[in-house]
């Protein structure tokens, strides 16, 4: 066998280690160009924002002649606050049910959308094995793309037409969108696992479900918990506005009060949403700390 020798001179070494490579500069130029064109085409203007600050201030302060049109102080009517808290609770319940449904769909789908997992399920280099793997991967990723590329609001509109106004439409909308997002996020986690333990268990003759439980899931569990908690928080936020299209929860009251210019109530509802999301964030942090 002839030894292959590659000659590298000190000049070549310096050149290849320089941060000013032509491709780095090209990528930077492309980023700047894309950002500039997008800024210009969308009509972004810092001046308009500064000019409009006065109008925004007027909107927040409200019209002194119209009672409750100001955002401050928030409405402190106890019976109303109780109603909003109850609606917020319903919103969280919607997110919980939606999350479990989305895991039931998105979790198994994420295995079919992971090339390395498919290779464990359908090993081999035969044409049939390769074709089956590609078909399953294509179908799973297509489904996940469709699920997540359609916004929750659009899904909610579709489900409202199917099951009528109320939380169920919101739950289904959140579940289907989150299933798509979870499939994408979890499949990325699956594809990033260390193949060593899988190789070791395959070498023992273990079957597919055993390899998944002993070699894949222990590795992906921190990522899974992290992503599921993140999506739960997102679902609570999304569920808060699904009421805009009649899909139940606190969003119904929020939309109602915005339309009626009862901005004191709007502030109360927003404060309740912010406190709820903050509490969920704290809870998520505790769960992450204990599991990861």
């Amino acid at each position: 066998m002839t030894p292959v020798t590659i000659q590298i001179t000190p000049d070549q070494l310096k050149k290849s280690a320089s941060p000013f490579q032509w491709h780095t500069i090209l990528i930077l130029c492309l980023l700047v160009f894309t950002y500039s064109v997008s800024w210009y085409d969308t009509g972004m203007s810092v001046g308009s924002l500064i000019d409009g600050m006065g109008y925004m201030n007027s909107y927040i302060v409200g019209n002194p002649d119209i009672e409750g049109s100001s955002f401050f102080p928030p409405s402190l009517i106890v019976s109303d606050i109780g109603l909003y808290i109850k609606a917020m609770f319903e919103t969280v319940e919607m997110a919980v049910v939606a999350l479990f449904l989305s895991i039931a769909v998105g979790f198994p789908l994420s295995f079919l959308a992971s090339r390395n997992i498919l290779k464990i399920l359908i090993p081999g280099r035969t044409v049939l094995a390769v074709v089956v793997r590609r078909v399953l991967y294509g179908c799973a990723t297509l489904m996940a793309n469709v699920f997540r590329s359609i916004n929750e609001i659009v899904w909610a509109l579709l489900f409202v037409s199917a099951v009528g106004l109320g939380p169920m439409a919101g739950i289904l909308a959140l579940a289907i969108h989150t299933a798509g997002v979870l499939c994408k996020l979890l499949s990325e986690g699956n594809e990033a696992i260390d193949p060593g333990p899988v190789e070791a268990l395959t070498a023992t003759g273990a079957s597919f479900p055993k390899i998944i439980v002993y070699a894949v899931l222990p590795q992906t569990m921190p990522h899974f918990i992290s992503m599921v908690l993140y999506r739960f928080e997102s679902d609570v936020r999304s569920a808060s506005i699904l009421g805009f299209v009649g899909a139940g929860g606190v969003g119904f009251y929020l939309f109602d009060k915005v339309r009626a210019f009862e901005n004191g109530d709007v502030t109360t509802i927003i404060i309740i949403i912010v406190i709820t999301v903050w509490l969920i964030d704290r809870l998520s942090a505790i769960i992450r700390k204990n599991f990861i």
Binding site: A200, A203, S207
Partner: protein, 271 residues
């Protein structure tokens, strides 16, 4: 137990190893030595059916590796333990669960999925952990262990398979000399206690000489040496390390020189 007659092995149609003739009996402790890239791992991986047999007759137990279906391949693999250089443990799992994963073939799917083990399975796992000296670490997570401890967990996992053959791909390459010697001691103990055939790829010639009862030298795409450590002379080592496809010869020749120097010193001492 393992019988190769005029075997060609490769990942594609191009053979990596050619004309391999080899017979390994039950209870042997065999080491495979050779340059990096010479085909040591290829030879080892071929025993669990991971490499294509391009030509010849390849028998492991009663299985013909030239004509294996998936079921037969899984059955074959369940009888062979494999120890990897990089351990291949699930770091987030405890030592016990990693060892238990070696028994998966014999645990029903339902129980294995919820990680529910019988008393007998627990006793066996404890016994194998005792053999390698890690029973006190059973509940520790593997990412809390040192390299030597992890490799011993990997050996216990392989033992939990109750294998007839134990294959070790450079099991001590990433370890310090003390940990490496301890791992080699464990492999020898497994070989002697359970009568398990051990086949190990080694870069340390002194370990190959001290622990194994047969050495296989791989070079020039074939087995160029097959004999006991006593039969391995300087010219054999030079033949094994003569080709240098990736510039590794200097390192290995240095090892050969160290061995030569040590042998000379020993001879002087004996004289």
């Amino acid at each position: 137990m393992i019988d190769l007659k005029s075997v060609h092995l490769g990942y594609s149609d191009t053979p990596i190893l050619k004309d391999i003739n080899l017979h390994i009996e039950k209870g042997e402790f065999v080491s495979i030595i050779g340059l990096s890239g010479a085909g040591k791992s290829t030879l080892l991986m071929s025993i669990i059916g991971n490499i294509r047999v391009l030509q010849g007759n390849y028998q492991v137990f009663d299985y013909d590796l030239c004509a294996m279906n998936k079921k037969a391949l899984r059955e074959l693999r369940s009888r062979i333990g494999f120890i990897f250089q990089s351990y291949n443990l699930v770091n987030r799992l405890s030592v016990l669960h990693n060892v238990m994963s070696g028994m998966l073939k014999n645990i029903p799917v339902g129980r294995s999925l919820i990680k529910l083990y019988s008393n007998e399975e627990h006793d066996k796992a404890y016994e194998y952990m005792q053999v390698v000296g890690i029973e006190q670490l059973a509940m520790k997570r593997c990412d809390e262990l040192s390299g030597g401890q992890r490799q011993r967990v990997a050996i216990a996992r392989a033992l939990a398979q109750e294998p007839d053959i134990l294959l070790a791909d450079e099991p001590v390459a990433a370890l310090d000399p003390k940990s490496a010697a301890r791992v080699m001691d464990v492999l020898l103990k497994v070989n002697e206690t359970y009568g398990v055939t051990v086949i190990a790829n080694l870069h340390h010639l002194d370990f190959a000489r001290d622990y194994c009862n047969r050495i296989l030298g791989v070079s020039s795409q074939t087995i160029s040496f097959n004999g006991s450590p006593d039969q391995l002379f300087d010219h054999d080592m030079e033949a094994i390390y003569k080709n240098d496809p990736v510039g590794m010869a200097s390192i290995n020749i240095a090892t050969v020189d160290n061995v030569k120097t040590r042998e000379n010193n020993n001879m002087k001492k004996a004289a």
